[in-house]
Amino acid sequence: MAQTALHIDWRAYPRTAALDELVGPGGRARPPAGALLNFLKRLDGAELHNRRKAAEQAVRALGITFTVYSDGANIDRQWPFDIIPRILRASEWRKVEAGLAQRLRALNCFIDDVYHRQHIFRDRVIPAEVVMAAGNYRDACAGVRPAHGVWAHICGSDLVRDSDGQLYVLEDNLRVPSGVSYMIENRRLTKRVFPELLEAYQVTPVGEYPAQLFDTLASISPRRSETPEIVVLTPGIYNSAYFEHAFLAQQMGAELVEGGDLEVGDDDCVYMRTVRGLVRVDVIYRRVDDAFLDPECFRKDSLLGVPGLMRAWRLGKVAIANAPGTGVADDKVVYAYVPDMIRYYLSEEPLLPNVPTYFCHDPLQRQHVLQNLDKLVVKPTNESGGYGILIGPTASRAARAACAEAIRANPRGHVAQPVVSLSTAPTLLGRELVPCHVDLRPFCLQGASSYVTAGGLTRVAMRKGSLVVNSSQGGGSKDTWVVAD
């Protein structure tokens, strides 16, 4: 064999400007990664290769896929998984949990306020025009009172760790955040690939999420019933997250429905068409954007939605999670005000920091941004999936010029942030362990009570030096462990 035993020498592990999650200075393990690094040290390149092969086989066998649209056709791709887990300390995680739950409580207060009396505008904490100009405010939602005053029941926040060691919130995804099924599947994969390691650590389980989601959804049911009828509404098989929709429906024992399976009756209740006749639906966990929910109310050409659904929801006949209109708080400008919201609504200090954000609609800040494009990250305010982002330090001169042009044309449409160096974690590329940049997407639930996942989905940029972690753009993922320290 050409590839003979090539054991890992952590002292030779490359150092970068970024902080590494597992390996400290001099190749010493950061606690509690010691046992993991020692274990990996005993494996050679060939053995690591074999373990990865086993993981790839398991991905195929378990049918873990995501759908990519390319060349006019939809293709089911195998889920990209890096076998080396990322480890978080339980003491740190307890703070993050509290911080995320606090954030979501404040965001829900904000959304409820925006659709009612708008105190926060009148008290000049947030300028009304900043929120209204984003185009995410829905007139149809004004005055509606969802159960518990909660609009965003499911939130996926993106966290990054800067070189100072601090976890920052990069954004809050309040529309239809995805990835949680992969968090659960990644743990299943690790159980197959490194069973001996899981035995050595006390890793907090992640598999209870579907049960927590079910409880959250049941807690907003308009009918007081032991067994509320909960459905997952999917845009269908061609959606990139269809695997997750099917997974969550199956795990919750809920029906996976498309728009055409539902109808609104003369009594304004929502029904699904079954072979036993019409069955009333209490809660819709929708994975369809607002604009496609109800052709009577939003996009007339939508075939994904259910005519009359908004009427049923406004009358309180059905609960929708996340509630329509929630997107008003999912905007990169509104994000910058979340710490202020926490102080305003909860009279608490934020437990998790934001990344500092410059508003391009403010002339002074815009000036600063335009003069420092080579040092900043510029983001369109109303995009997701990592599209349209300029990473100043690595962008070409032409790309920076085009970005400056775009900012001047639409200042409200852009914000800028200092480059967060994004921590790294050892990742298997070829037969080598290489530091690759990671972020973290935990999921937070709020209904009658709150819940935060233990860890979340770690996304990893599987190209050396790359900062792009989105799976649609070549990113991968890691199992994420929360362990006692």
Binding site: G63, G236, I237, A246, Q250, G253, E255, L256, V257, E258, G260, D261, M272, R273, T274, V275, R276, G277, L278, V279
Partner: protein, 313 residues
């Protein structure tokens, strides 16, 4: 938990399309063998195949004559017609894809692979050499699919809708193949090139439905019109016989909720088929009888649709 109408409908069509692909492949294979025995009747035979598939109008809109070449291409590979094997499998796959979660996973994988294989190989199967192997492969894979469903799906609603699809499609195909048999029986649409070989042709009818062996075990004596018609119409034990399909429908419809209307129609059909006199029908009126039966099967399909898929009433 109640089953979604959409899921039920897709399972029903999945079963129909797989059954159709299998039956069509067998039909083409048997015809191709037969024409080697009676070269003078070649074009009449290929035309009758188009007739059986109910594609007369569509086919002759594109082709002047039913030749081996034009018919085989049309029936095997033409993606623009619903009547082709390639289309049936593409539609089967589309239906299966959206109900993967209720199907045994191997069954989905099989249909997925078969569809891709047929798409790649159908063009090469147009020439005589290699054609039979292609058709055998389609029949075999469709049967394997059915076997998986039979042995791994619980006898609950999802299975019942697959079973309805199979039985309706099978009864429909048998009635079509029998109807073409009328031509041989001289029921007014006689074709002289074919009439000379009456018993060979009735044998062909049996072979097209994989019925020859079972017929031989059940019916003594020579292969002739009235006994073939009697067997394929009224035998309650042979799966492709119409009476047997109706019995399957009876039991399956009986297991489903809100089954009043389709069950009533099916019972009337059972009576009608059992009461028929094959000898008299072969002498005259077989075509009219089968025509009416096909109409009734169409109505049954409509009732299945309105009861469970469209939720009328």
């Amino acid at each position: 938990m109640a089953m979604l109408s959409r899921v039920a409908e897709r399972l029903y069509w999945l079963a129909r399309y797989v059954e159709r692909a299998e039956n069509t492949a067998r039909l083409v294979g048997v015809n191709a063998q037969l024409l080697l025995d009676m070269p003078e009747a070649v074009n009449a035979l290929w035309e009758s195949l188009i007739e059986i598939l109910g594609a007369h109008e569509d086919f002759f809109a594109q082709h002047g004559k039913a030749t081996e070449r034009s018919v085989v291409r049309y029936v095997l590979a033409d993606q623009t017609t619903q009547a082709s094997i390639a289309s049936a499998l593409r539609l089967a796959r589309e239906n299966a894809r959206t109900v993967r979660e209720v199907l045994p996973s191997e069954a989905w994988e099989l249909i997925n692979q078969l569809q891709m294989e047929v798409q790649e190989t159908a063009e090469h199967a147009l020439a005589r050499r290699g054609r039979q192997a292609f058709l055998d492969r389609v029949v075999q894979q469709c049967q394997q699919f059915s076997g998986m469903i039979m042995t791994t799906m619980s006898r609950r609603e999802p299975f019942h809708f697959v079973n309805l699809g199979w039985a309706v499609e099978r009864a429909d195909m048998t009635s079509r193949i029998l109807d073409v048999g009328c031509t041989y029986a001289g029921g007014g649409r006689g074709n002289h090139a074919l009439l000379d070989h009456e018993s060979v042709l009735w044998m062909n009818v049996l072979l097209s439905l994989s019925a020859y062996q079972m017929y031989r075990q059940q019916m003594r004596g020579r292969v002739e019109g009235r006994s073939v018609v009697g067997f394929l119409l009224q035998d309650t034990a042979f799966p492709h016989a119409i009476a047997c399909c109706l019995d399957t429908l009876e039991a399956t419809l009986g297991a489903l909720p809100r089954n009043g209307a389709p069950l009533r129609l099916n019972r009337a059909l059972v009576k009608q088929v059992a009461g028929a006199d094959p000898s008299a029908l072969v002498a005259s009126g077989l075509h009219e009888f089968l025509d009416q039966l096909q109409g009734e099967l169409g109505r049954l399909h409509g009732l299945i649709q309105s009861t469970w898929f469209r939720l009328a009433g």
